[in-house]
């Protein structure tokens, strides 16, 4: 087991190094002069372009640039944002928590609701419940998440102004204690609902099809033959076995929490990493974009590793002898 884990850790570290190298090459080699490309057709003084090139470490030979980049990155020195003039890392760090709050909550809710929906649909395949759950989740799955958010915004913030149109806190009002929490939840409700609906389809589909795979197994016939009630057979024997692939899916999806809500955060002006990404695109703020991409990739890689290890613990068949 220790050998298995260390092999996986090594693989993940390699991937991370790959991301670092890619990040460097994408911005410097594929596009040798991103600064000029970004401001093509705009009237930017030469002195400012030169200044930007120096700031971005675009002077010196390719190799010197690469070593400088590696050294700085490992010290979490990701350069300065063009827009906020803050160090990129500080900027990113301050935005992690809002994103974790919003997307993390949505990830948990969608997993819970999606799994329940998938179990109900799969256990009674072809029933009215199956038909309505499958088609509803497929519809949510087939629309752009931010468009779903637009519909909810119009319905519950404009036509019926029950919720705020955006932001994380009410401006100009000091809340404290319970009031602050309620205010935060009030702002969280619509974007969180959007993401939950957008994500739950995947869980429902995977749970349903995994349950269908399990339902042919003989141990379920045995459980029925023992005289267990239908609900017991389902909850005690079928579901635990069907949940294996779902657990992996959830672990992987948690890695996408940081990067998963770019468009929805933008739509609701939620001050997290997703909105930071779309702001960086519009800037365009290259150091910020580079830093965000690195953080997003690192999160996914770490959670993938966790998923692999978790799976080996849960399913002895995957574990090497």
């Amino acid at each position: 087991m220790a050998q298995f884990i260390s092999k996986k850790v090594l693989g993940s570290t390699l991937t991370l190094v790959f991301v670092l190298v890619f990040n460097f090459f994408l911005f410097r080699v594929v596009q040798p002069d991103p600064v000029a490309n970004l401001f093509r057709g705009r009237n930017v003084p030469q002195a400012r372009l030169d200044q930007m090139r120096t700031d971005f470490g675009l002077d010196g030979s390719r190799l010197t640039q690469f070593w400088a980049y590696l050294r700085e990155t490992l010290q979490l020195n990701l350069g300065f944002s063009y827009q906020s003039r803050q160090p990129v890392w500080d900027d990113i760090a301050s935005k992690i928590w809002p994103t974790v709050q919003l997307v993390g909550l949505a990830a948990i809710l969608s997993a819970a609701i999606g799994i329940i929906g998938g179990v109900i649909a799969g256990w009674r395949r072809g029933s009215a419940a199956d038909y309505s759950i499958t088609s509803t989740t497929m519809a949510f799955y087939s629309m752009p998440d931010f468009w779903l958010g637009m519909l909810l915004l119009v319905a519950f913030a404009v036509v019926f102004p029950w919720f705020p149109v955006g932001g994380m806190t009410e401006l100009g009002v000091e809340h404290s204690g319970v009031g602050a929490i309620l205010d935060r939840l009030h702002h969280l409700a619509l974007p969180c609902l959007t993401l939950t609906l957008a994500y739950l389809g995947e869980y429902a589909i995977v749970t349903r099809s995994s349950l269908l795979d399990v339902m042919g197994e003989e141990y379920l016939t045995l459980a029925q033959a023992k005289g267990l009630r239908d609900i017991q057979v389902r909850n005690r024997h079928a579901v635990p076995n069907a949940l294996l692939p779902v657990v992996t899916l959830a672990a992987i999806n948690f890695g996408f929490v940081l990067s998963g809500a770019i468009a929805v955060e933008t739509l609701f002006s939620w001050p997290g990493l997703g909105k930071a990404t779309s702001d960086a695109v519009l800037g365009p703020d290259l150091p910020m974009l580079q830093g965000l991409f690195l953080v997003f990739s690192a999160a996914v890689i770490v959670f993938n590793l966790a998923a692999d290890v978790l799976y080996a613990f849960l399913d002895p068949r995957v574990r090497p002898a």
């Binding site: 991937t15 790959f18 991301v19 890619f22 994408l26 911005f27 594929v30 596009q31 991103p34 490309n37 093509r40 497929m138 519809a139 087939s142 629309m143 752009p144 931010f146 468009w147 637009m150 519909l151 915004l153 119009v154 404009v158 036509v159 149109v165 099809s209 269908l212 996408f256 990067s259 770019i262 468009a263 933008t266 739509l267 990404t277 779309s278 695109v281 519009l282 365009p284 290259l286 974009l289 580079q290 965000l292 991409f293 997003f296 990739s297 999160a299 996914v300 890689i301 993938n304």
Partner: protein
């Protein structure tokens, strides 16, 4: 040439088509797709191009943020442009980008998958390492970073989607090639002296093409949704109307707080319906390629 082989192939193709048409989801998806395809092709007949131009629309007396009741049939936007014209012309970009990006995805995915699966060994190891890396890197941020660095054009969007979404196809194709390779007819062909190229062409490809087709149909929705998201974030081609661009304009010109539903409802519905159509067709093809899935 009407050799028995040809006749048998023709019969089996007809058989697949008949079974496809008999499946209700597949039929509905195909009809919807034909309607939208016809709309995209017949755009010049359905909506005058002048409706896309702010100056021409002003000259024609179009109101700003006109609702469907004031400006037929779908109202106008902040620049007095016709929403209907944008919807019709935008369907071209959304469908074209969706299909073209899928062609890139499938081409790269098939090439990598067949090479890795058929030749195996160290080449397989290296290719799968690269594939795994692309699977791990967050897809949308990668697409956003690439699109930002490369610049805003339709072709860049196609390239970006293709480059970021081939890995799952590659894995699927590789797995299928590995099982086909074990079959007896491959050994027989090899012992009769067939070259690798011949075996891949005559034995491997025909046996994975059904899977590839199903996978391609299921990849189109992802391409279309990615194009929409990239355009929504302002990375689309600024010169052309697309459904994603309409949603981008609707958001940044605050159509939502104005309750200008006629501006953001049509493009979203268009995407939803086209994506569902492709999904239905893809699932039906998948069932035809793998009958075990049929009673799902």
């Amino acid at each position: 040439m009407t050799s028995p082989t040809m006749q048998r192939r023709l019969a089996s193709t007809t058989n697949v088509l008949v079974r496809f048409w008999r499946s209700r989801p597949g039929r509905i998806g195909l009809i919807v797709l034909v309607v939208f395809g016809a709309m995209a092709l017949a755009a010049p007949l359905l909506a005058d191009r002048s409706g896309l131009d702010a100056v021409a629309s002003r000259r024609a007396g179009a109101p700003q943020w006109g609702s469907p009741s004031t400006w037929w049939p779908l109202g106008t936007d902040h620049l007095r442009r016709s929403v209907w014209a944008q919807f019709v012309w935008g369907s071209r970009i959304s469908l074209f980008v969706g299909l073209a990006a899928t062609v890139v995805t499938i081409a790269v995915g098939t090439l990598v998958g067949v090479t890795a699966g058929f030749f195996g060994g160290r080449l397989d190891g290296v290719l799968m390492r690269v594939t795994e890396w692309f699977l791990v890197v967050p897809f949308l941020p990668l697409a956003i970073v690439l699109a930002t660095v490369l610049g805003r054009s339709v072709w860049n969007i196609i390239f970006v989607i293709g480059v970021t979404s081939w890995p799952s196809t590659a894995r699927l194709v590789r797995a299928q090639v590995l099982t086909v390779k074990q079959r007896l007819f491959v050994d027989r062909s090899r012992s009769l002296g067939a070259s690798s190229a011949y075996i891949v062409r005559r034995h491997i490809m025909p046996n994975v093409s059904g899977l590839i087709l199903a996978n391609a149909t299921l990849a189109v929705p992802i391409s279309i949704l990615t194009e929409t998201t990239l355009s929504f974030l302002g990375l689309g081609d600024p010169q052309r109307a697309s459904w994603g661009k309409m949603l981008n304009d609707a958001f940044f010109e605050s159509a939502i707080t104005r309750n200008a539903w006629w501006y953001f409802l049509p493009p979203g519905l268009g995407i939803l319906v086209v994506v569902l159509a492709f999904t239905l067709i893809g699932q039906t093809l998948e069932q035809l390629a793998d009958p075990r899935l049929a009673d799902r």
